[in-house]
Symmetry: C2
Subunit: 284 residues, 2 copies
């Protein structure tokens, strides 16, 4: 299946990400349907023209009619859905997702999936500090990264199809990683940073400090407004990798602390020169 | 002295902050002179109309002519300058500064200062990731906090004068703290966050990750491009307070890590709910 204009696309899970996908695809002229267990999310999306059809149950006709299905569920719910409803999928349908962890999801789904449909996983690295279809916004894709994580079970055609979706949505950069490489990377650049932001906010009853914070503190804690159900699930599903990243970071910060304690100004300056040099690559 | 239009203002130390003060005060119509040991900084500022007079030495006439002197030096250099040149100050001159640590500077300066001049300390909580008068920008003050840190040695008139300067420069919020309160606050909201950003950048040879970072990682590491000479001095001068803040943060992050290790999903979610609640106060 290509991204031809008469394709019917089903989005399963109509929260912030599902809703943002729906907005973009509707804007691009596709026929977009959605399933979400929350009837209010479906009603809102229908009312606002974000989807053309919707159901609060796994409505067979919507599932059977879809050429492409995009899963925007939490990982556990995603697996349960496949187990329960995959018999309804149209033969030849292509499936993709937005899940933030990969190794613990992709292989299980592919192993249980029917042979006449294909699941190709992707992680759109975009989001907001708020949730729900009411906050959906397809501009969040524009400056963001989109990562496809194929396995040996995937066909070159499905991989290309999945990349095309990222291009359609307007992502700045499309790349390919193995599920394991993805999880290591995400443990560092996304999960560890969220843990740090949360700990910075909870380590100190700092409400009275709101008056004095500059951009630094605000930047470091922006992501501490966090959907606790989703992120606790993502952290636990990537636990081994995240623990390793946390240990590495805590070790490094403790080493910096020791230099300070020992008045090792040259050591502190070396670390700062290294961070300055490395950070400069991120601004190129 | 009030901020009347024929005042002559001397800025000692013409880097990013001194230069940004100079830009703002020149724009407001004051006569602004500067002293910096780097003749190129002075030449640049004269050429670009940022100052009306300048010297690469402690030119007596410029010091003697100033009704107000703004010190934008590193803390140690600031004390040395006062010891060497305070005999040149005009009787009745008002002195202020931009130094990022207070208790270790304010009392020493006030103790050594002549009785016919007054030093009232302030900390403009603004900055950029680049340094030098070439990067000076007086728009950095507009959304920022300005903190005056008076002691018993200060007169109500000087405190009011110093606050007026913050208002003139366009700061969003002007407040007053004791030097000790300031140092505790700054240890948390500014110094700890810079240590975290540096450690996040140095804990992992992550150059290849630049392609995959989203806004979270960029936000948390923006301030890891850092002037190592200035910040190592500020960290060491506020060592006791900063060590305490680092210990508190490392302890909190380690507790979060243990919850993850023990699959304590409810504990993780509680922390995230707390961080979400607290962070919301910062967005009001």
């Amino acid at each position: 299946m290509n991204w031809i204009s008469n394709s019917e696309i089903l989005i399963v899970g109509l929260g912030l990400m599902g809703g943002s996908y729906a907005k973009a695809l509707t804007r691009l002229g596709y026929r977009v349907a959605a399933i979400d267990r929350d009837p209010e999310a479906i009603a809102y999306a229908l009312e606002h023209g974000i989807i053309q059809a919707g159901a609060a149950d796994a409505m067979p006709s919507l599932i059977q009619g879809a050429d492409a299905v995009i899963f925007a569920l939490y990982p556990t719910a995603f697996k349960e859905w496949i187990a329960s409803y995959q018999h309804l999928l149209k033969p030849g349908a292509l499936l993709t997702d937005v899940t933030g962890v990969k190794a613990c999801v992709v292989y299980d789904i592919q192993a249980m999936l029917r042979n006449d449909v294909e699941f190709i996983a992707a992680h759109p690295m975009a989001g907001r500090e708020v949730s729900g279809v009411q906050n959906a916004d397809d501009r969040i894709f524009l400056n963001a990264n989109y990562i496809v994580t194929p396995t040996e079970a995937n066909s070159p055609e499905a991989i290309e199809w999945c990349k095309s979706l990222g291009r359609l949505l307007g992502f700045r950069r499309i790349s390919t990683l193995s599920p394991e490489e993805h999880d290591e990377m995400i443990g560092f650049v996304s999960q560890l940073t969220h843990c740090i932001a949360v700990a910075l906010m909870t380590c100190n009853d700092n409400r009275h400090l709101a008056d004095y914070t500059g951009d630094s503190f605000r930047d470091l804690t922006r992501i501490s407004r966090i959907n606790e159900k989703m992120w606790s699930e993502l952290f636990l599903l990537n636990k081994t990798e995240l623990l390793e990243q946390m240990d590495r970071f805590i070790g490094e910060l403790s080493a910096f602390r020791s230099m300070l304690e020992q008045d090792d100004r040259e050591g502190l300056m070396q670390k700062m020169r290294l961070s300055t040099e490395r950070r400069s690559y991120f601004d190129q």
